[in-house]
């Protein structure tokens, strides 16, 4: 029975949760679940997994914009029907994996994909630069300092050569978040692109009382920069600009405190984070470039600085060395030299744990 707007609750179904994970498995995966023995990357973007049973599955990984239309998804479906018995998946980094059970279909699939213009770049495996985890930006969110999809497109266009091959010393994981909320969880990425504001919010006194819960707004400020204030009869808040570090959390709580500004906002770049526990423990990303102005549509300066970092890394890092491991080996003084980036006041931590970042040894390089 179809939806009846006049009787919303009619045979309502709720709390059924998602489809079970195995509902859409290709047969070979259902049969070899938990029995996989080893894998091999046959070429960039093409994975072969072999089971104890000898069964094989081939996964072809293609980059995707993540912000995609239903028509694009339908085209993906057409491909999957043709070569994968209709089976595919998305990865945790928003790439698409075509799941090929019939080896004879592998080469035709690759040829087909290559034939479809720039829609289906093959790669993202091994020591490549895979897809950029990112967020909404100007496309849908209310707190961004930058766009997301546009920056990602510009950066990936420039780094395209690294997506489709394995020439780097190790994988590089890039993430983007358009504000300090960091929906991209960029705080542990080899390279992180972060949207930052640089002007304190301005207070729309006449609106605050109407649209915000003042105590929550005050509590929302990490640096306690917000105080209650009365303007005539209306309750409002006051911001101590000297204490504001532009995190935007007050705006999240209160639309009457806008801080976005075309000239004030821009990009900060971070480096050296990682998530895996391989060799070294997970690490946070550290500040590399404090600020780059917003330069739509293609953010050339940000694109250039990212390349500088990657080329210095590619030239200097040893095999298996992630960006952060490379920096830890050569030292930050060398990182700034080799990348040609400047070190200035913003790089020196001054938040709660600042003391733990100071150099408390005579060990350093001249």
């Amino acid at each position: 029975m179809a939806f009846d707007p006049n009787n919303v609750m009619q045979d309502r179904i709720t709390d059924i949760g998602p489809p079970k994970y195995d509902k859409f498995f290709p047969p070979v995966i259902r049969e070899n679940f938990g029995k996989w023995k080893y894998h091999e990357i046959l070429e960039p973007g093409v994975l072969m997994h072999v089971s104890e049973s000898g069964a094989e599955i081939y996964s072809v990984r293609v980059g995707s914009a993540r912000l995609i239309s239903t028509d694009y998804i339908r085209e993906v479906c057409n491909i999957a029907d043709k070569y994968c018995g209709g089976h595919l998946r998305w990865t945790t980094r928003n790439n698409i994996e075509f799941l090929v059970s019939d080896k004879s279909k592998l080469q035709p699939l690759l040829a087909d994909l290559r034939g479809r213009g720039s829609w289906f770049p093959i790669g993202g495996t091994g020591n490549s630069i895979t897809n950029i985890v990112h967020t909404q930006g100007w496309a849908h969110c209310h707190t961004p300092a930058i766009d997301a999809s546009g920056v990602v497109k510009a950066v990936m266009d420039d780094l395209y050569e690294y997506f489709g091959n394995h020439k780097l010393p190790a994988q590089i994981r890039i993430a983007l978040a358009c504000c300090l909320n960091m929906c991209g969880a960029v705080h542990c990425s080899d390279i992180a692109i972060l949207g930052v504001h640089r002007k304190p919010p301005f207070v729309e006194n006449e609106r605050v009382q109407k649209v915000c819960e003042i105590p929550l707004v005050i509590a929302a400020c990490p640096t306690a920069a917000i105080k209650p204030k009365k303007v005539g009869e209306t309750k409002s808040v006051e911001i101590n600009n000297n204490r504001c570090m532009f995190c935007g959390n007050c705006y999240t709580m209160c639309p009457a405190l806008p801080l976005a500004d075309g000239e004030g906002d821009g990009i900060a770049l971070w480096v050296g984070g990682k998530v895996s526990n391989v060799k070294s423990a997970p690490m946070f990303s550290k500040l590399a470039v404090p600020f780059i102005p917003n330069e739509p549509p293609r953010w050339p300066t940000a694109v250039k600085k990212i390349r500088q970092i990657i080329e210095a890394y590619a030239a200097g890092a040893r095999r298996y060395e992630r960006v952060g491991e490379w920096i830890n080996r050569i030292g930050w003084e060398r990182f700034f030299e080799k990348t040609g980036l400047e070190f200035n006041h913003e790089h020196i931590d001054d938040y709660r744990l600042a003391m733990t970042t100071w150099r408390t040894t005579t060990q350093f390089k001249f």
């Binding site: 029975m1 939806f3 609750m9 709720t14 709390d15 059924i16 998602p18 489809p19 079970k20 994970y21 195995d22 859409f24 080893y38 091999e40 599955i57 996964s59 914009a65 995609i68 239309s69 239903t70 028509d71 998804i73 339908r74 479906c77 999957a80 209709g86 089976h87 595919l88 998946r89 998305w90 945790t92 928003n94 720039s118 100007w138 496309a139 209310h142 766009d147 546009g150 497109k153 510009a154 266009d157 395209y160 300090l180 705080h187 542990c188 509590a219 990490p222 995190c247 999240t252 976005a260 000239e263 998530v275 526990n277 391989v278 060799k279 997970p282 739509p296 549509p297 298996y320 709660r352």
Partner: protein, 424 residues
């Protein structure tokens, strides 16, 4: 195909080898999708002014749920009426995102009819994100999702958020736990927490099958479940020879089809605890010193495999910076067997939630609460004994809160007797 709004800036993003969302959306608009058309205009305006044009989300949703929809209104409805309302619907993905084309096509048809036709596959948390519809479409979308697609909404607000895991046993030889089943089970068991706000703030679960952590659980989830093993790494000495002999490509080809493998430089010397020896013939691992970092395994996947006494390490508290600064998850249960129905794990989760709900301030994530009330208090609440594996180092400051119960007379002094012994 002249669109309503000229987009000279966006058009620049049609160039270059990487897939262009602009070209994609323009095709939709060209087909007559009005929402896409106005959305492009709005984006162009943002590209010109370098400012976003979405208002603060209003509270919209479907009946009986407190989450799953992000309300969105454009701040220039005068110029872009078709995206005046542009709410996002989060649809709970099947764990680790396997689909068949049938279900995807149904989803597309539904979304063309009832929304913008734009999506994110997928959102950072893991959901299928349906980008942009109007308030009146929310109930019909929900109805069709539940009736025709057997799908349900994901989380938003102060709820349990949509859990997600790596693909685990479905296609990975290293998975020490069934990440997909764990995620599915948690999601089903806690449907109420997922749909109805009951927490101080959001709560995220993520599960990775091994320490590679391919779902970034340790960085992004309030409760991180990461597979591991307690026994020995399984070694196939023949395969080791095949690698050193150049018959097998090291690192499964991740650094290209090379055969110049140097086991000493690439494995033995890079083991973080230096617990391996290779005498030219066979490989010896001192497993008691292994910290299961997976390096040797990932370099020689056909020779080395995780052990068989498997379970998970449970870590808690990861989050993004807001409010007190970013946190990674910290070990609280070094090892726990993870077998369906995961009773022991759920008991832990429920104790944890009770403590958080009782003590957490509004918008205080678990990790921040632990910082404020101390790890010691957390461990007491979840009834776990302290273990050195929970810390990188014991305290280095001498500010110890000794338990008065352990002190003769507790906190009390006999002031009179003291002054008898000591003149003021």
């Amino acid at each position: 195909m002249a669109l309503k709004h000229a987009t000279p800036k966006l058009d620049e993003l049609e160039k270059g080898p990487w897939p262009s969302f602009v070209s994609d959306v323009k095709k939709m608009a060209a087909k007559g999708n009005k929402m896409c058309e106005d959305w492009l205009g709005l984006m162009e305006l943002s590209y010109t002014e370098k400012e976003g044009h979405w208002k603060h989300g209003g509270i919209v949703g479907v009946f009986g749920y407190g989450g799953g929809v992000i309300g969105r209104y454009c701040d220039r409805p005068d110029m872009f009426p078709n995206v005046a309302h542009f709410h996002t619907i989060r649809v709970n993905q099947p764990a680790s995102k396997y689909y068949n084309t049938e279900v995807l096509r149904k989803l597309c048809d539904m979304w063309d009819a009832r929304g913008s036709g734009l999506t994110n596959m997928h959102g950072s948390t893991g959901d299928i994100v349906l980008l942009g519809t109007t308030t009146d479409q929310l109930e019909p979308v929900f109805y069709e999702l539940t009736h025709d697609l057997d799908m349900d909404l994901g989380g938003s607000g102060s709820n349990m958020r949509t859990p997600e895991g790596c693909l685990g046993m479905s296609r990975c030889e290293w998975s020490c736990i069934n990440t997909q089943d764990i995620i599915y089970d948690i999601t089903q068991e806690y449907q109420d927490a997922l749909h109805r706000p009951m927490f101080p703030y959001k709560f995220k679960f993520k599960a990775s099958g091994c320490p590679m952590d391919c779902v970034a659980a340790i960085a992004r989830s309030d409760c991180s479940i990461i597979g591991t093993w307690r026994d020995e790494i399984r070694v196939d000495q023949e395969a080791v020879k095949a690698y050193t002999g150049g018959e097998l490509v090291p690192h499964a080809g991740a650094d290209g089809q090379r055969r110049d493998f140097d086991i000493k430089a690439e494995v033995i010397d890079l083991c973080p605890t230096h617990c391996m020896e290779y005498d030219g013939k066979s490989l010896k691992i001192y497993d008691e010193d292994c910290v299961r970092c997976m390096h040797c395994i990932r370099v020689m996947p056909r020779a080395l495999r995780p052990g068989l006494d498997r379970g998970a390490t449970i870590l808690v508290g990861a989050k993004a910076p807001i409010l007190e600064g970013a946190q990674l998850s910290s070990v609280v249960i070094p090892f726990m067997k993870m077998e369906s129905p995961y009773t022991e794990f759920k008991e832990f989760v429920e104790k944890l939630w009770d403590w958080w709900m009782e003590n957490g301030k509004n918008r205080e994530r678990l990790g921040e609460l632990i910082q404020r009330l101390t790890l010691r208090e957390f461990l007491k609440a979840v009834e776990i004994e302290p273990d050195p594996r929970m810390v990188n180092t014991p305290r280095f400051n001498p500010y110890i809160f000794y338990d008065p119960a352990a002190v003769p007379g507790g906190w009390e002094h006999d002031a009179a007797a003291f002054r008898k012994r000591h003149q003021a």
